[in-house]
């Protein structure tokens, strides 16, 4: 007989996620993913000025606002018939790229790493780093005090197997602290041309409002160098260390094995050439992507609107007491197939396409170092590895884009808003494929739908009863102690869920 275990709230992700697993003979046999917070952005957008959309939709998510702003702008640019000048396109890539780096560093070090690194090891620190010594003194004073929960928010936590080596744990803690500076620096990089982060106001259809100057170029170059050094010297090797210590996670959390990417970071004016390409992988077979194959099921989602609609016709009518439904997240499917999105999907698509030399080299290099094969990438650790590799590719590319900026050249191309229009904005968020669908009537938004990365990854069962990617990845996960299901949380966190995004 199976035992039901609730992991609710599943913390160290963005937002409100509840995971329910059924465990039999110390293995997950069934899993349910529930998004627990709904705001109704699509209803709120209706009747508004179309230009409001890239500001309103950024507020879907405080971790990846730039991606929502970008998706909205791409949809509007189709509707308005405008393309940004070269500087505008490059600046957008730089702002989005910086936020990818910010998000990936935050995810690995501040959200996921505490499932592997033993933070209590700081009490064994004997070195002279003043920051680590301060941290040690604080943890020790907390542990010897009479507060109910000492050293929150770092303790208490699930008991389980963490990294054993004190040296590695101390290094992990040091890099946790360094990473706080690095992600703040990446946000600073966004703000040089984005105005402020989270929620950048300079992004608009037609380009960016902030002008290019030699001073800002110099500023960006210096920030990018620092970020590159951290990714090369810390992030990539820390992921490898975790992989060497927890090799079983190359087998745990494999999931559906199907991948979807829309592609991102345009390198040509017409959006045809991108740094990461679009594609679909089903059963290891690479196919071309066709946006008309996207539909959203709601049979198990808390909506009374029709199931199986394409986003261009999609509806979002809440029904909080709906029978048989267990999540505010819809179940998007591609050609009725369950798809995983995210850095792993992007890397898989480009790896299989074989045209992106850098993706191929970095993946092969890391696999060789760890003694793994390409198929091992489809796993909990594969997702972390893909995220780190992607951070390097994006940071290195930012260093090239910044050199292509020209001071004094336009950053914005003017447009007029038509009385009627339609647009589909497809891009990628740090967490995966992101689409916004827009329709304009009488100069106002008449229809808006967002299908967001975690909508795909954390989706509940679809109309045919097929579990979503996270639900599938959990099935088969070994659980040593049902009171401390740390193994399940490692699997879920490898997807970097964002529930504010997923439900919106």
């Amino acid at each position: 007989m199976s035992i039901t275990v609730n992991i609710d709230p599943l913390t160290r992700i963005e937002g409100h996620l509840a995971i329910r697993i059924e465990v039999e003979s110390n293995r997950v046999v069934n899993a349910f993913s529930s998004g627990e917070m709904f705001r109704g952005f699509e209803a709120i957008l209706k009747g508004r000025d179309p230009l409001d959309a890239q500001q309103i939709t950024q507020r879907i998510c405080g971790v990846c606002p730039i991606s929502h702003g970008t998706a909205s702008i791409l949809a509007q640019e189709i509707a308005y018939g405008v393309i940004p000048p070269k500087n505008g396109r490059l600046l957008r890539n730089l702002i989005l790229g910086a936020n990818f780096i910010q998000s990936h560093i935050l995810h690995f070090y501040h959200l996921a790493a505490l499932d592997f690194v033993d933070i209590a090891a700081i009490t064994k620190y004997k070195g002279k780093d003043p920051v680590l010594r301060d941290l040690k003194a604080w943890v020790q004073s907390e542990l010897s005090s009479n507060v109910i929960y000492p050293a929150t928010p770092f303790l208490p936590r699930y008991s389980g197997e963490y990294i054993q080596s004190t040296e590695l744990n101390i290094q992990g803690i040091k890099h946790y602290l360094d990473a706080l500076d690095m992600r703040r620096l990446a946000h600073k990089m966004c703000a040089v041309f984005g105005g402020k982060l989270p929620h950048a106001t300079t992004l608009l259809p037609g380009g960016v409002t902030e002008k290019v100057t030699a001073r800002k170029i110099a500023s960006l170059k210096s920030i990018i160098k620092e970020l590159q050094a951290f990714i090369d010297n810390s992030y990539l090797s820390d992921v490898a260390e975790v992989a060497l210590d927890f090799p079983e996670y190359f087998r745990i959390g494999k999931g559906c094995g199907n991948f979807l990417a829309y592609g991102v970071f345009p390198e040509s004016a017409d959006n045809s050439k991108k740094l990461f390409s679009s594609g679909v992988v089903i059963g290891e077979k690479l196919m071309a992507f066709d946006s008309t194959k996207i539909t959203e099921d709601v049979r198990h989602s808390l909506f009374s609107s029709r199931s199986g609609l394409q986003p261009s016709e999609g509806q979002t009518v809440p029904s909080p007491h709906k029978k048989g439904a267990y999540s505010w997240i819809k179940a998007p499917r591609y050609n009725a197939t369950v798809m995983e999105v995210g850095p792993l999907a992007r890397i898989m698509v480009d790896y299989l396409k074989g045209k992106n030399r850098k993706v191929k080299d970095l993946v092969n290099g890391l696999l060789a170092r760890l003694g793994k094969k390409p198929e091992d990438l489809v796993s909990t650790l594969g997702r972390h590895a893909a995220r780190a590799i992607e951070s390097k590719i994006v940071a290195d590319k930012c260093a090239e884009w910044v050199e292509q900026l020209t001071p004094g050249q336009p950053v914005f191309r003017d447009f007029t808003i038509p009385e009627t229009g339609r647009g589909m904005g497809l891009t990628e968020a740090p967490r995966g494929a992101l689409g916004h669908w827009l329709e304009i009537r009488d100069y106002k938004i008449s229809h808006y739908q967002c299908v967001v990365p975690t909508t795909w990854n954390c989706s509940p069962r679809d109309d045919r009863g097929n579990p979503g990617p996270v639900e599938q990845a959990l099935t088969g996960t070994p659980i040593v102690d049902i009171k401390n299901p740390i193994e399940a949380t490692r699997v879920v966190r490898s997807f970097d869920p964002c529930i504010a995004c997923a439900v919106h």
Binding site: N6, I7, T11, M37, R39, G62, T152, G194, H199, T489
Partner: protein
């Protein structure tokens, strides 16, 4: 005004505003911060209908940075995005902390008053959880525009009957010292500055809406780097142009905050400085009405019959 003098004034204003006191008080505040380190004040951080943007903004704090804040100033009992605890362990920490009381409660996000099922944490309706936590709190900070005023989740046509924290507490008869820190997101200095003031010097001076005067007493327009353009009626006609952004829809003249002086992301930039009209994200009616757009572009397009 030449650049050097303006820079100097900006810097002085920043320091004075951050502390909420005259500059002569700076050494005293530094000393007070040192003493605080001995006993960290317990803080409970709950997220309702939020995007986590204010939490991410707090992570952008510098001097003190987030690690220094967590180990040196506050004892963060629970925060869903940062806490090592998860699942049952989280709920035990949350419940025992609430029962014990005496903490400072920070709420990020609005409250789905009209559809309580729209936000659930650990199997408990957020509407009930926030009341439970508020009743035992010493004081409450509503961080960000969603918590302070309702924000986008409470905008026109919203399906969840979302409400600001003060409105929700009032409706449920909970009365506690309450500070509003609007902003989409709230600036890290506003959060850290308010926390430190509250912990060491008590509740800072608040305006009628409950916002600390040290951050929200003046209009963006009065501190605008493009104010001279406004005076000379030199208006930008489209985006990325020089000049005052008023004709494009800038809400600086009706928005209270210190963004243009304080600047964002380690003093890097601000919306108006970067050529983007202020969209009034700290205002009570931010995004509230569907018929009040952020920009005037659509109106212009319509007029020219495009």
């Amino acid at each position: 005004m030449d650049i050097t003098r303006r820079k100097f004034l900006e810097l002085s204003a920043k320091m004075a505003a951050m502390m909420g006191l005259g500059t002569t008080a700076i050494p005293k505040i530094a000393e007070a911060l040192e003493q605080l380190s001995a006993v960290n004040a317990p803080v409970l951080w709950l997220q309702g209908q939020s995007c986590s943007g204010c939490s991410v903004s707090l992570l952008n704090s510098e001097e003190p940075g987030p690690a220094q804040i967590l180990s040196g100033y506050i004892s963060l009992l629970f925060h869903s995005t940062i806490s090592a605890s998860t699942g049952d362990v989280s709920m035990q920490v949350l419940n025992r902390s609430i029962d014990h009381g005496g903490y400072l409660l920070v709420v990020e996000g609005s409250v789905p008053e009209g559809m309580p099922e729209a936000c659930v944490v650990g199997g408990e309706l957020f509407t009930e959880q926030v009341l439970r936590a508020a009743k035992n709190a010493k004081a409450i900070i509503a961080v960000g525009t969603c918590a302070a005023f309702g924000g986008i989740p409470a905008a026109e046509n919203n399906p969840t009957g979302a409400m600001s924290v003060p409105d929700f507490l009032k409706k449920n008869g909970v009365s506690k010292p309450l500070i509003l820190l609007p902003g989409c997101p709230a600036h890290p200095d506003w959060i850290v500055g308010t926390l430190v003031h509250l912990l060491k010097f008590g509740i800072p001076q608040l305006d009628k809406k409950g916002r600390p005067k040290m951050f929200f007493s003046r209009l963006i327009h009065d501190q605008c780097p493009r104010f001279a353009d406004y005076e000379r009626e030199n208006f930008a006609k489209t985006f990325s142009e020089d000049g005052c952004l008023f004709m494009l829809g800038c809400l600086g003249p009706v928005t209270h905050a210190d963004c243009t002086l304080r600047l964002w992301n380690s003093g890097t930039n601000s919306c108006i400085k970067a050529g983007a009209p202020c969209i009034g994200c700290t205002s009570e009616n931010f995004a509230a009405s569907a018929s009040f757009p952020f920009y005037r572009k659509a109106t212009l397009s319509k007029k020219t019959g495009a």
